[in-house]
Protein backbone atom coordinates (compact mmCIF):
# COMPACT_ATOMS: atom_id res chain seq x y z
CA UNK A 1 0.00 0.00 0.00
CA UNK A 2 1.31 3.50 0.70
CA UNK A 3 3.52 1.60 3.12
CA UNK A 4 4.79 -1.53 1.39
CA UNK A 5 6.95 -4.38 2.65
CA UNK A 6 7.30 -3.11 6.21
CA UNK A 7 9.43 -5.56 8.20
CA UNK A 8 8.81 -6.15 11.89
CA UNK A 9 11.02 -7.93 14.39
CA UNK A 10 10.65 -11.06 12.28
CA UNK A 11 10.43 -13.19 15.40
CA UNK A 12 6.82 -14.16 15.11
CA UNK A 13 4.01 -13.20 17.44
CA UNK A 14 4.49 -13.92 21.15
CA UNK A 15 1.62 -15.38 23.12
CA UNK A 16 0.35 -13.42 26.14
CA UNK A 17 2.02 -15.99 28.43
CA UNK A 18 5.43 -15.37 26.91
CA UNK A 19 5.23 -11.62 27.53
CA UNK A 20 6.62 -9.56 30.39
CA UNK A 21 3.93 -7.74 32.43
CA UNK A 22 4.36 -4.41 30.60
CA UNK A 23 4.06 -5.98 27.20
CA UNK A 24 1.15 -8.15 28.26
CA UNK A 25 -0.78 -5.13 29.55
CA UNK A 26 0.01 -3.34 26.28
CA UNK A 27 -1.20 -6.25 24.13
CA UNK A 28 -4.31 -6.77 26.22
CA UNK A 29 -5.20 -3.13 25.81
CA UNK A 30 -4.89 -3.48 22.03
CA UNK A 31 -6.91 -6.70 22.02
CA UNK A 32 -9.67 -4.89 23.89
CA UNK A 33 -9.77 -2.18 21.21
CA UNK A 34 -7.98 0.44 23.34
CA UNK A 35 -5.69 3.12 21.91
CA UNK A 36 -1.98 3.53 22.58
CA UNK A 37 -0.98 7.16 23.09
CA UNK A 38 2.46 8.78 22.64
CA UNK A 39 3.59 8.74 26.25
CA UNK A 40 2.34 5.22 26.99
CA UNK A 41 4.73 2.32 27.35
CA UNK A 42 5.18 0.44 24.08
CA UNK A 43 7.54 -2.30 22.86
CA UNK A 44 10.50 -0.92 20.95
CA UNK A 45 9.48 -3.01 17.92
CA UNK A 46 6.04 -1.40 17.84
CA UNK A 47 7.58 2.06 17.91
CA UNK A 48 10.13 1.28 15.21
CA UNK A 49 7.61 -0.41 12.96
CA UNK A 50 5.20 2.47 13.25
CA UNK A 51 7.90 5.03 12.47
CA UNK A 52 8.73 3.10 9.30
CA UNK A 53 5.13 2.60 8.32
CA UNK A 54 3.82 6.09 9.06
CA UNK A 55 7.00 7.63 7.63
CA UNK A 56 6.66 5.67 4.42
CA UNK A 57 3.00 6.58 4.20
CA UNK A 58 3.85 10.28 4.69
CA UNK A 59 6.59 10.14 2.05
CA UNK A 60 4.10 8.56 -0.37
CA UNK A 61 1.68 11.44 0.09
CA UNK A 62 4.46 13.95 -0.52
CA UNK A 63 6.08 12.23 -3.51
CA UNK A 64 2.58 11.40 -4.76
CA UNK A 65 2.09 15.09 -5.52
CA UNK A 66 4.65 14.92 -8.32
CA UNK A 67 2.86 12.78 -10.93
CA UNK A 68 -0.29 14.92 -10.59
CA UNK A 69 1.56 18.19 -10.17
CA UNK A 70 2.91 17.41 -13.62
CA UNK A 71 -0.48 18.30 -15.16
CA UNK A 72 -1.52 21.35 -13.15
CA UNK A 73 -0.20 23.82 -15.69
CA UNK A 74 -1.73 21.86 -18.57
CA UNK A 75 -5.18 21.04 -17.23
CA UNK A 76 -7.76 21.40 -20.03
CA UNK A 77 -9.93 24.03 -18.28
CA UNK A 78 -9.57 26.53 -15.48
CA UNK A 79 -12.03 24.53 -13.39
CA UNK A 80 -10.11 21.27 -13.83
CA UNK A 81 -6.96 23.13 -12.96
CA UNK A 82 -8.41 24.53 -9.73
CA UNK A 83 -9.74 21.08 -8.78
CA UNK A 84 -6.43 19.35 -9.44
CA UNK A 85 -4.59 22.02 -7.50
CA UNK A 86 -6.89 21.50 -4.51
CA UNK A 87 -6.43 17.74 -4.75
CA UNK A 88 -2.65 17.98 -4.81
CA UNK A 89 -2.73 20.44 -1.91
CA UNK A 90 -4.76 17.88 0.07
CA UNK A 91 -2.00 15.32 -0.53
CA UNK A 92 0.53 17.74 0.93
CA UNK A 93 -1.79 18.03 3.92
CA UNK A 94 -1.97 14.24 4.22
CA UNK A 95 1.81 14.08 4.30
CA UNK A 96 1.87 16.69 7.06
CA UNK A 97 -0.77 14.96 9.22
CA UNK A 98 1.25 11.77 8.98
CA UNK A 99 4.64 13.34 9.70
CA UNK A 100 3.07 14.90 12.76
CA UNK A 101 1.83 11.46 13.89
CA UNK A 102 5.29 9.93 13.30
CA UNK A 103 6.92 12.71 15.31
CA UNK A 104 4.97 11.69 18.40
CA UNK A 105 7.05 8.49 18.33
CA UNK A 106 10.30 10.35 18.93
CA UNK A 107 11.59 10.95 15.42
CA UNK A 108 12.08 14.45 14.05
CA UNK A 109 10.63 15.76 10.80
CA UNK A 110 14.09 16.51 9.45
CA UNK A 111 15.25 12.95 10.13
CA UNK A 112 12.36 11.54 8.14
CA UNK A 113 12.98 14.00 5.34
CA UNK A 114 16.66 13.22 5.26
CA UNK A 115 15.96 9.48 5.07
CA UNK A 116 13.58 10.03 2.17
CA UNK A 117 16.03 12.23 0.30
CA UNK A 118 18.90 9.77 0.75
CA UNK A 119 16.72 6.93 -0.54
CA UNK A 120 16.97 5.07 2.75
CA UNK A 121 13.24 5.26 3.39
CA UNK A 122 10.84 4.25 0.64
CA UNK A 123 7.56 5.57 -0.69
CA UNK A 124 4.86 3.67 -2.57
CA UNK A 125 5.97 2.03 -5.83
CA UNK A 126 3.00 3.56 -7.68
CA UNK A 127 4.54 7.03 -7.76
CA UNK A 128 7.48 5.84 -9.83
CA UNK A 129 5.26 5.61 -12.91
CA UNK A 130 4.92 8.56 -15.30
CA UNK A 131 1.71 10.46 -16.04
CA UNK A 132 1.76 10.74 -19.81
CA UNK A 133 -1.63 12.21 -20.72
CA UNK A 134 -4.50 14.12 -19.11
CA UNK A 135 -6.43 10.83 -18.84
CA UNK A 136 -3.79 9.71 -16.34
CA UNK A 137 -5.18 12.32 -13.92
CA UNK A 138 -8.45 10.44 -14.15
CA UNK A 139 -6.82 7.04 -13.74
CA UNK A 140 -4.74 8.17 -10.76
CA UNK A 141 -7.70 9.60 -8.85
CA UNK A 142 -9.94 6.68 -9.68
CA UNK A 143 -7.47 3.80 -9.23
CA UNK A 144 -4.62 5.07 -7.05
CA UNK A 145 -6.71 7.03 -4.58
CA UNK A 146 -9.30 4.27 -4.84
CA UNK A 147 -6.72 1.68 -3.79
CA UNK A 148 -5.43 3.98 -1.04
CA UNK A 149 -8.94 4.32 0.39
CA UNK A 150 -9.26 0.52 0.67
CA UNK A 151 -6.32 0.48 3.02
CA UNK A 152 -6.88 3.77 4.82
CA UNK A 153 -10.48 3.24 5.87
CA UNK A 154 -9.67 0.26 8.15
CA UNK A 155 -6.58 2.08 9.45
CA UNK A 156 -8.88 4.60 11.10
CA UNK A 157 -9.24 1.88 13.74
CA UNK A 158 -5.51 1.27 14.14
CA UNK A 159 -4.18 0.95 17.70
CA UNK A 160 -1.93 4.01 17.69
CA UNK A 161 -4.03 7.06 18.59
CA UNK A 162 -2.22 9.77 16.58
CA UNK A 163 -2.08 7.51 13.49
CA UNK A 164 -5.78 6.66 13.75
CA UNK A 165 -6.70 10.34 14.08
CA UNK A 166 -4.58 11.28 11.06
CA UNK A 167 -6.38 8.56 9.09
CA UNK A 168 -9.79 9.93 10.05
CA UNK A 169 -8.84 13.34 8.62
CA UNK A 170 -7.36 11.77 5.50
CA UNK A 171 -10.34 9.54 4.79
CA UNK A 172 -12.69 12.53 4.97
CA UNK A 173 -10.78 14.05 2.06
CA UNK A 174 -10.09 11.00 -0.09
CA UNK A 175 -13.52 10.52 -1.52
CA UNK A 176 -13.25 13.91 -3.25
CA UNK A 177 -9.99 12.63 -4.79
CA UNK A 178 -11.47 9.46 -6.15
CA UNK A 179 -14.62 11.10 -7.44
CA UNK A 180 -12.77 13.88 -9.27
CA UNK A 181 -10.68 11.16 -10.94
CA UNK A 182 -13.72 9.13 -11.94
CA UNK A 183 -15.35 12.30 -13.24
CA UNK A 184 -12.37 12.87 -15.55
CA UNK A 185 -12.60 9.24 -16.70
CA UNK A 186 -16.32 9.59 -17.47
CA UNK A 187 -15.67 12.70 -19.54
CA UNK A 188 -12.85 11.05 -21.46
CA UNK A 189 -14.58 7.71 -21.92
CA UNK A 190 -17.65 9.42 -23.35
CA UNK A 191 -15.70 11.93 -25.41
CA UNK A 192 -14.22 11.70 -28.89
CA UNK A 193 -12.66 8.50 -30.15
CA UNK A 194 -9.21 9.92 -29.39
CA UNK A 195 -10.25 10.75 -25.82
CA UNK A 196 -11.75 7.29 -25.29
CA UNK A 197 -8.49 5.75 -26.46
CA UNK A 198 -6.55 7.92 -24.05
CA UNK A 199 -8.76 6.78 -21.17
CA UNK A 200 -8.30 3.11 -22.15
CA UNK A 201 -4.55 3.59 -22.45
CA UNK A 202 -4.40 5.17 -18.97
CA UNK A 203 -6.31 2.22 -17.51
CA UNK A 204 -4.01 -0.19 -19.32
CA UNK A 205 -0.91 1.39 -17.83
CA UNK A 206 -2.20 1.92 -14.27
CA UNK A 207 -4.09 -1.33 -13.68
CA UNK A 208 -1.09 -3.51 -12.82
CA UNK A 209 0.74 -0.87 -10.76
CA UNK A 210 -2.50 -0.18 -8.84
CA UNK A 211 -2.81 -3.89 -7.94
CA UNK A 212 0.83 -3.83 -6.83
CA UNK A 213 0.09 -1.04 -4.37
CA UNK A 214 -1.28 -3.64 -1.94
CA UNK A 215 2.04 -5.48 -1.93
CA UNK A 216 2.68 -9.16 -2.66
CA UNK A 217 0.66 -11.81 -0.86
CA UNK A 218 1.50 -11.75 2.84
CA UNK A 219 -0.54 -14.76 3.85
CA UNK A 220 2.57 -16.42 5.29
CA UNK A 221 4.51 -13.35 6.41
CA UNK A 222 5.65 -13.22 10.06
CA UNK A 223 6.00 -9.45 9.69
CA UNK A 224 2.37 -9.06 8.74
CA UNK A 225 1.25 -11.39 11.53
CA UNK A 226 3.02 -9.19 14.09
CA UNK A 227 1.65 -5.99 12.57
CA UNK A 228 -1.84 -7.45 12.65
CA UNK A 229 -1.47 -8.49 16.29
CA UNK A 230 -0.45 -4.90 17.03
CA UNK A 231 -3.36 -3.62 14.91
CA UNK A 232 -1.15 -1.43 12.80
CA UNK A 233 -2.19 -3.53 9.83
CA UNK A 234 -5.86 -4.40 9.67
CA UNK A 235 -6.25 -6.66 6.62
CA UNK A 236 -4.09 -8.95 4.54
CA UNK A 237 -2.78 -7.65 1.22
CA UNK A 238 -4.76 -10.21 -0.77
CA UNK A 239 -7.97 -9.36 1.02
CA UNK A 240 -7.67 -5.65 0.20
CA UNK A 241 -6.62 -6.34 -3.38
CA UNK A 242 -9.69 -8.53 -3.91
CA UNK A 243 -11.92 -5.85 -2.46
CA UNK A 244 -10.38 -3.31 -4.80
CA UNK A 245 -10.92 -5.47 -7.88
CA UNK A 246 -14.50 -6.25 -6.85
CA UNK A 247 -15.22 -2.55 -6.52
CA UNK A 248 -13.35 -1.39 -9.60
CA UNK A 249 -14.29 -3.95 -12.24
CA UNK A 250 -17.96 -2.89 -12.44
CA UNK A 251 -16.90 0.76 -12.56
CA UNK A 252 -14.67 0.04 -15.56
CA UNK A 253 -17.61 -1.65 -17.19
CA UNK A 254 -19.78 1.40 -16.52
CA UNK A 255 -17.14 3.53 -18.26
CA UNK A 256 -17.15 1.16 -21.23
CA UNK A 257 -13.45 0.52 -20.70
CA UNK A 258 -11.74 -2.86 -20.63
CA UNK A 259 -9.56 -4.02 -17.77
CA UNK A 260 -6.30 -5.22 -19.35
CA UNK A 261 -6.71 -8.75 -17.98
CA UNK A 262 -8.68 -11.34 -19.96
CA UNK A 263 -9.20 -13.46 -16.84
CA UNK A 264 -10.86 -10.62 -14.94
CA UNK A 265 -14.49 -11.59 -14.60
CA UNK A 266 -17.09 -12.26 -11.95
CA UNK A 267 -16.89 -15.77 -10.55
CA UNK A 268 -20.47 -16.87 -9.89
CA UNK A 269 -19.33 -19.42 -7.31
CA UNK A 270 -17.27 -17.13 -5.11
CA UNK A 271 -19.19 -13.94 -5.80
CA UNK A 272 -15.82 -12.24 -6.38
CA UNK A 273 -13.93 -11.22 -9.48
CA UNK A 274 -11.14 -13.50 -10.65
CA UNK A 275 -8.06 -11.65 -11.80
CA UNK A 276 -4.44 -12.25 -12.74
CA UNK A 277 -1.58 -11.27 -10.42
CA UNK A 278 0.41 -8.24 -11.57
CA UNK A 279 4.04 -8.64 -12.59
CA UNK A 280 5.79 -9.02 -9.23
CA UNK A 281 9.26 -8.98 -10.80
CA UNK A 282 8.49 -5.50 -12.04
CA UNK A 283 7.29 -4.54 -8.54
CA UNK A 284 10.53 -5.61 -6.88
CA UNK A 285 12.53 -3.93 -9.59
CA UNK A 286 10.69 -0.64 -8.98
CA UNK A 287 11.33 -0.98 -5.23
CA UNK A 288 15.02 -1.45 -5.96
CA UNK A 289 15.00 1.93 -7.68
CA UNK A 290 14.63 0.83 -11.28
CA UNK A 291 11.13 2.08 -12.07
CA UNK A 292 10.61 4.54 -14.92
CA UNK A 293 10.62 7.61 -12.62
CA UNK A 294 12.51 6.69 -9.40
CA UNK A 295 15.47 8.91 -10.21
CA UNK A 296 13.34 11.82 -11.36
CA UNK A 297 11.14 11.70 -8.23
CA UNK A 298 14.03 11.68 -5.79
CA UNK A 299 15.81 14.39 -7.73
CA UNK A 300 12.70 16.57 -7.60
CA UNK A 301 12.40 16.13 -3.81
CA UNK A 302 16.09 16.82 -3.27
CA UNK A 303 15.93 19.91 -5.46
CA UNK A 304 12.90 21.22 -3.56
CA UNK A 305 14.71 20.67 -0.25
CA UNK A 306 17.91 22.35 -1.45
CA UNK A 307 16.15 25.24 -3.18
CA UNK A 308 14.00 25.83 -0.11
CA UNK A 309 16.92 26.05 2.23
CA UNK A 310 17.29 29.83 2.09
CA UNK A 311 13.59 30.20 2.93
CA UNK A 312 13.82 27.89 5.94
CA UNK A 313 16.91 29.61 7.25
CA UNK A 314 15.74 33.11 6.40
CA UNK A 315 12.43 32.74 8.23
CA UNK A 316 14.18 31.25 11.25
CA UNK A 317 16.61 34.20 11.33
CA UNK A 318 13.71 36.62 10.99
CA UNK A 319 11.85 34.95 13.86
CA UNK A 320 14.96 35.13 16.09
CA UNK A 321 15.41 38.82 15.26
CA UNK A 322 11.76 39.60 16.05
CA UNK A 323 12.04 37.71 19.32
CA UNK A 324 15.07 39.63 20.49
CA UNK A 325 13.53 42.96 19.43
CA UNK A 326 10.47 42.11 21.51
CA UNK A 327 12.63 41.16 24.49
CA UNK A 328 14.57 44.42 24.20
CA UNK A 329 11.33 46.42 24.18
CA UNK A 330 10.05 44.78 27.38
Amino acid sequence: MYAQMIKSTGQGVKSLDEMEPDERAFQERINAGGKIEPKDWMPEGYRKNLIRQIGQHAHSEIVGQLPEGNWITRAPTLERKAILLAKVQDEAGHGLYLYCAAETLGVTRDDLTRDLLSGKMKYSSIFNYPTLTWADMGAVGWLVDGAAIMNQVPLQRTSYGPYARAMVRICKEESFHQRQGFDIMMKMANGTEAQRKMAQDALNRFWGPALMMFGPSDADSVHSAQSMAWKIKMNSNDELRQKFVDQTAPQAEYLGLTIPDKTCKLNAETGHYDFAQPDWDEFFDVLRGNGPCNTERLEARNKAWDDGRWVREGLLAHAAKKRSAKLAAE
Binding site: P38, G93, Y97, D110, L315, K322
Partner: protein, 114 residues
Amino acid sequence: MSSPETSPYKDSEASPHGETRATEWPLWEIFIRGQHGLSHRHVGSLHAPDAEMAIKNARDVYTRRNEGVSIWAVEASDIAASSPEEKGALYEPANDKVYRHPTFFDIPDEVGAM
Protein backbone atom coordinates in the same frame (compact mmCIF):
# COMPACT_ATOMS: atom_id res chain seq x y z
CA MET B 1 -0.12 15.81 21.42
CA SER B 2 3.53 15.32 20.74
CA SER B 3 6.90 14.71 22.25
CA PRO B 4 7.32 11.59 24.30
CA GLU B 5 10.61 11.55 26.14
CA THR B 6 12.03 8.62 24.26
CA SER B 7 15.27 7.69 22.68
CA PRO B 8 15.70 8.99 19.15
CA TYR B 9 15.00 6.92 16.09
CA LYS B 10 17.82 4.40 16.25
CA ASP B 11 19.05 4.24 12.70
CA SER B 12 19.35 7.93 12.04
CA GLU B 13 21.23 10.92 13.35
CA ALA B 14 18.19 12.09 15.30
CA SER B 15 18.64 14.50 18.14
CA PRO B 16 16.59 13.62 21.23
CA HIS B 17 13.01 14.64 20.68
CA GLY B 18 11.97 18.07 21.81
CA GLU B 19 15.44 19.39 21.08
CA THR B 20 15.04 20.90 17.67
CA ARG B 21 18.16 21.36 15.61
CA ALA B 22 19.36 24.85 14.90
CA THR B 23 18.00 24.46 11.37
CA GLU B 24 14.63 22.89 12.15
CA TRP B 25 11.57 25.07 12.66
CA PRO B 26 10.02 24.52 16.09
CA LEU B 27 6.98 22.29 16.54
CA TRP B 28 3.60 23.93 17.27
CA GLU B 29 0.49 22.24 18.56
CA ILE B 30 -2.65 23.52 16.83
CA PHE B 31 -6.07 23.97 18.43
CA ILE B 32 -9.15 24.90 16.43
CA ARG B 33 -12.61 26.07 17.41
CA GLY B 34 -15.31 25.07 14.96
CA GLN B 35 -18.46 26.94 14.04
CA HIS B 36 -20.79 25.35 16.54
CA GLY B 37 -19.76 26.90 19.81
CA LEU B 38 -17.57 24.07 21.12
CA SER B 39 -14.21 24.77 22.75
CA HIS B 40 -10.92 24.79 20.87
CA ARG B 41 -9.86 21.23 20.14
CA HIS B 42 -6.38 19.85 19.47
CA VAL B 43 -6.14 18.90 15.79
CA GLY B 44 -2.44 18.13 15.31
CA SER B 45 0.90 19.80 15.05
CA LEU B 46 3.06 21.51 12.47
CA HIS B 47 6.42 23.21 12.11
CA ALA B 48 6.77 26.97 11.72
CA PRO B 49 9.45 29.56 12.42
CA ASP B 50 7.16 31.71 14.61
CA ALA B 51 3.61 32.07 15.92
CA GLU B 52 2.41 34.17 13.02
CA MET B 53 3.55 31.61 10.46
CA ALA B 54 2.22 28.78 12.63
CA ILE B 55 -1.26 30.27 12.36
CA LYS B 56 -0.93 30.81 8.61
CA ASN B 57 0.28 27.25 8.12
CA ALA B 58 -2.48 25.94 10.39
CA ARG B 59 -5.03 27.64 8.15
CA ASP B 60 -3.64 25.75 5.13
CA VAL B 61 -3.09 22.42 6.84
CA TYR B 62 -6.09 22.15 9.14
CA THR B 63 -8.90 24.39 7.80
CA ARG B 64 -9.06 23.74 4.06
CA ARG B 65 -12.75 22.89 4.38
CA ASN B 66 -14.08 25.48 6.82
CA GLU B 67 -13.25 23.38 9.85
CA GLY B 68 -12.72 26.37 12.09
CA VAL B 69 -13.31 29.98 12.96
CA SER B 70 -10.48 30.38 15.48
CA ILE B 71 -6.95 28.99 15.64
CA TRP B 72 -4.60 28.72 18.61
CA ALA B 73 -0.94 27.82 18.10
CA VAL B 74 1.15 26.80 21.11
CA GLU B 75 4.79 25.91 20.94
CA ALA B 76 5.00 22.20 21.81
CA SER B 77 7.88 22.73 24.23
CA ASP B 78 5.68 25.09 26.28
CA ILE B 79 3.07 22.43 26.99
CA ALA B 80 3.19 20.70 30.35
CA ALA B 81 1.51 17.30 30.33
CA SER B 82 0.61 14.77 33.00
CA SER B 83 2.53 11.55 32.73
CA PRO B 84 0.80 8.21 32.21
CA GLU B 85 2.61 6.58 35.17
CA GLU B 86 0.83 8.93 37.57
CA LYS B 87 -2.53 7.96 36.18
CA GLY B 88 -3.64 6.17 39.34
CA ALA B 89 -2.53 8.68 41.96
CA LEU B 90 -3.52 11.73 39.93
CA TYR B 91 -7.14 10.72 39.45
CA GLU B 92 -7.57 8.95 42.78
CA PRO B 93 -9.32 11.91 44.49
CA ALA B 94 -12.06 11.78 41.85
CA ASN B 95 -12.58 8.05 42.28
CA ASP B 96 -13.42 8.13 45.98
CA LYS B 97 -15.94 10.97 45.76
CA VAL B 98 -18.77 9.08 44.18
CA TYR B 99 -21.26 11.45 45.82
CA ARG B 100 -20.27 14.01 43.19
CA HIS B 101 -22.37 12.07 40.72
CA PRO B 102 -26.12 12.69 40.83
CA THR B 103 -26.82 8.95 40.64
CA PHE B 104 -25.40 8.61 44.19
CA PHE B 105 -28.69 9.91 45.57
CA ASP B 106 -31.89 7.90 45.43
CA ILE B 107 -34.80 10.22 44.87
CA PRO B 108 -38.23 8.59 45.19
CA ASP B 109 -40.22 8.29 41.96
CA GLU B 110 -43.10 10.33 43.42
CA VAL B 111 -40.85 13.40 43.45
CA GLY B 112 -40.69 13.39 39.66
CA ALA B 113 -37.83 14.48 37.43
CA MET B 114 -34.84 16.07 39.18
